[in-house]
């Protein structure tokens, strides 16, 4: 057991899979010699050499296209798109190529690849380097979308993503890179499509992802100690595949559900989850499902403004407290 940062967990997870399987290769901008702009891939070039850890030009379409061509002919590439926002410049692969090829070819082609991105805000990077893009990816049948919130999940879910036969978008949260957590020694392999109940509770269910997970946990602690409200906190972890049963089971126990989403309100991941809950769990609901999100604005750069925009612990506490009181 060792205490690792989320950042170190990324390199540990990639190294674990590259050491295991020669077909795992890694490409992206500044990932090799520079060790990544977030320093999440330090040491990989030294360990695995320039044939397997490949620095590319600033050329996102080449990165994702090459990853796809390699994946469909036998490799298992990990491609890094530095900031998740840059998915927009290579969206063709996310929207048209990765998710549809297996279907269009009647199952002839598999694309086992992982696209890693630095996702999310809180780093004062402004509107084009801070977005949470889960919903840019989860809308396409054929893609899988994962977002870990802790170092141990980074290692385990990354391993599961690399071993998965489908294309997986792996959204690391850039404001979590410095956070720490215990990571067991030895090989760690998790499963995609399994949510985690991080805190059991009976009064309300809180669904969170990425950086919103620690905030949700903190909010639950405050709600318990100051208001006597006992919240169950679920780290959704994997949006596709989605562990609906875990979520619906929790709602059946608590009767209330809140999502905590970093994305702007319109069509965030929580909207899809709430629509499922509203239908299938209708007669388990003792009040409206409520989404706590960033407002419908681009993210500002200044810290005072960004902190107002992204759901904070106190906003989560206040929203849930108010909603549960008469």
């Amino acid at each position: 057991m060792a205490e690792l940062t989320y950042r170190e967990a990324v390199a540990r997870g990639i190294a674990q899979e590259m050491a295991r399987d020669e077909n795992v290769v890694f490409l992206g901008e500044d990932i090799a010699k520079a060790g990544g702009v977030f320093k999440a891939t330090v040491g990989l070039l030294e360990q695995f050499g320039p044939k397997r850890v490949v620095d590319t030009a600033i050329s996102e379409q080449a990165i994702l296209g090459a990853a796809m061509g390699a994946a469909m002919t036998g490799l298992k590439p990990i491609a890094e798109i530095m900031f998740a926002d840059f998915i927009a410049v290579c969206y063709d692969y996310i929207a048209n190529e990765f998710p549809k090829t297996r279907y269009m070819t009647n199952g002839q082609v598999s694309i086992p690849l992982v696209v890693r991105c630095g996702n999310g805000g809180g780093a004062r990077f402004g509107a084009q380097h801070s977005q949470s893009v889960e919903n840019w990816c989860m809308q396409f049948p054929g893609l899988k979308v994962v977002a870990p919130s802790s170092p141990v999940d980074v290692v385990g879910l990354l391993a599961a993503a690399v071993r998965d036969p489908d294309p997986v978008i792996f959204l690391e949260h850039k404001s979590l890179y410095a956070t720490k957590g215990e990571v067991p020694d030895g090989e760690i392999v998790d499963r995609l499509g399994v949510a985690k109940i991080l805190r059991p509770g009976k009064d309300a269910t809180i669904l969170a992802l990425g950086m919103m997970v620690p905030r949700a946990l903190q909010a639950a602690a405050t709600l318990q100690s100051e208001h006597g409200i006992d919240c169950e906190v679920i780290d959704v972890r994997s949006l596709v595949p989605l562990d609906t049963q875990c979520i619906l089971g929790s709602v059946a126990r608590t009767g209330r559900v809140f999502t905590v989403e970093e994305n702007p309100r319109q069509l965030g991941w929580g909207a899809e989850l709430v629509s499922i809950i509203a239908d299938e769990s209708f007669y388990d609901l003792d009040g409206p499902p409520i989404r706590i999100t960033t407002p419908n604005i681009p993210l500002p750069a200044a810290d005072a403004l960004e902190d107002l925009a992204i759901p904070s612990v106190s906003r989560v506490v206040e929203t849930i407290r108010r909603s549960l009181s008469a």
Binding site: G255, D279, F282, G287
Partner: protein, 430 residues
């Protein structure tokens, strides 16, 4: 072969013929221009795909026809690429003008278990509804409160709401349920999952029995009845000394035997004729008052219970009724009853006397309005009119009544009429 209006672009539904290069009777070679067409998107020359003679032009210059319609017929000569076969399954049904030929056949949905998600719908929507969010009095309820209320037999209208804007929430229903009311013990079990129940019995060996359809039906119908039908109960003790004696007399030496139950069924059927306002069934927004006395009889069968109906029990002779009932019971035990033989009726007789049960209350079998629960006949001392004690054979009965359909006084009249017949049993033979 048929010359069709081609699909000039993916979004085009019709085209207009603007020029014919050939006339009827002209010979055409493959590749020869036949006609020009124009659509809202483009225009184009259409060549012949096979050689032959232009036999017929169906769409003249200026005519607009649907994509896929036949515009001309070329009689083929010599070898030509095969044209569309008549049996062409892709459905370019040749037709003129109004509707573009499109295949709209819905693909078959592959079947699945109830756990599988239908990909068209994408959800497992609850199959049951639990009533409206707004109660007749205007109070609002949450979906969970409605479900809990129905499952625990709580009348929501009587529950005070504590939620936002007075909404009745789950906690209100749970409180009402705990504080008595009509809450019953099934609430806990209906809320608990099988796993939760099993967890209570981990230290005890047990066997799991699957529910068959009969068991499921009994559970559902009787839960609904107990929760939705407002029951009340009338109890009475009858002197059946004369009835027992009459039965003995009838059965003496004869091959035809009747049971006490046969006599009671007939007596009840006659009583219903005397109190026709009790011979009713509840039909939601109205009552149905029956002319005949169709009486159900509860019959225990392996794994459950059925209630075959003796039709016209009031007009049958006693022997005829006894034979009819014996046949129904035999077929019920073999599970060979037709649905028409156990549906309908306005009342049921349930007899547990053979188990020494003195009395019990039965659950009304909707849409019937009454059910008569009959205990064991037994010798009991009673006080005679002169104040002395004497022993006689007594029978305890209990009448369960759907208060929506029958009120207390009516039920009382019915029970009194029944008593008169039972205690003066010769009327049964009339």
């Amino acid at each position: 072969m048929n010359v069709l209006m081609p699909q000039l672009g993916e979004t085009v539904a019709e085209g207009t013929i603007t020029k014919w290069y050939k006339a009827v009777g002209d010979s055409v070679a493959a590749g020869d221009l036949l006609f020009d067409i124009e659509t809202d998107k483009t225009s184009m020359e259409v060549p012949a795909v096979a050689a032959g003679v232009l036999r017929e032009i169906r769409a003249q210059n200026g005519q607009t026809v649907a994509v896929g319609a036949i515009v001309a017929i070329v009689a083929e000569s010599g070898d030509a690429p095969p044209g569309p076969l008549e049996k062409d399954a892709s459905g370019t049904r040749p037709q003129l003008a109004d509707s573009p030929a499109r295949d709209s056949a819905e693909p078959a949905v592959s079947g699945g278990t109830s756990r599988a998600i239908d990909p068209y719908h994408g959800l497992r929507t609850p199959e049951k509804n639990f009533g409206k969010a707004r109660l007749p009095g205007g109070a609002r309820t949450t979906p969970l409160a409605r479900r809990l209320a129905l499952e625990s037999g709580i009348e929501l209208a009587t529950v005070q709401g504590s939620g936002p804007r007075g909404r009745v929430v789950a906690a209100d229903v749970r409180r009402a349920s705990l504080s008595g009311g009509s809450a019953n013990a099934t609430m806990t079990s209906s809320e608990a999952s099988p796993d939760q129940i099993k967890a209570l019995y981990t230290s005890t060996p047990y066997r799991e029995l699957k529910l068959d359809n009969m068991r499921k039906t009994i559970a559902r119908r009787l839960s609904e009845s107990k929760q939705q039908v407002p029951h009340f109960y009338l109890n009475a003790d009858f002197d059946v000394e004369a009835l027992i004696a009459l039965r003995k007399e009838i059965n003496k030496g004869g091959t035809n035997r009747v049971s006490v139950n046969d006599l009671l069924v007939k007596a009840y059927a006659l009583a219903m004729q005397e109190v026709p306002e009790a011979n009713v069934v509840w039909a939601g927004d109205r009552l149905l008052q029956l002319e005949r006395s169709d009486i159900g009889v509860a019959v225990a069968v392996p794994g459950g219970l059925v209630t075959p109906i003796v039709r016209n029990a009031d007009t049958r002779s006693l022997l005829n009724l006894a034979n009819e009932l014996a046949g129904l019971i035999a077929r019920a035990r073999e599970r060979k009853l037709l649905a028409s033989e156990y549906t309908g009726g306005s009342a049921t007789v349930s007899n547990l006397g053979m188990y020494g049960v003195r009395s019990f209350q039965a659950i009304v079998n909707p849409p019937q309005a009454t059910i008569l629960a009959v205990g064991a006949a037994e010798r009991r001392p009673i006080e005679a009119k002169d104040g002395t004690l004497r022993a006689t054979t007594m029978l305890s009965v209990s009448l369960s009544v759907d208060h929506r359909a029958v009120d207390g006084a009516t039920a009382g009249k019915l029970l009194a009429a029944f008593r008169t017949i039972v205690e003066n049993p010769l009327r049964i033979l009339l």
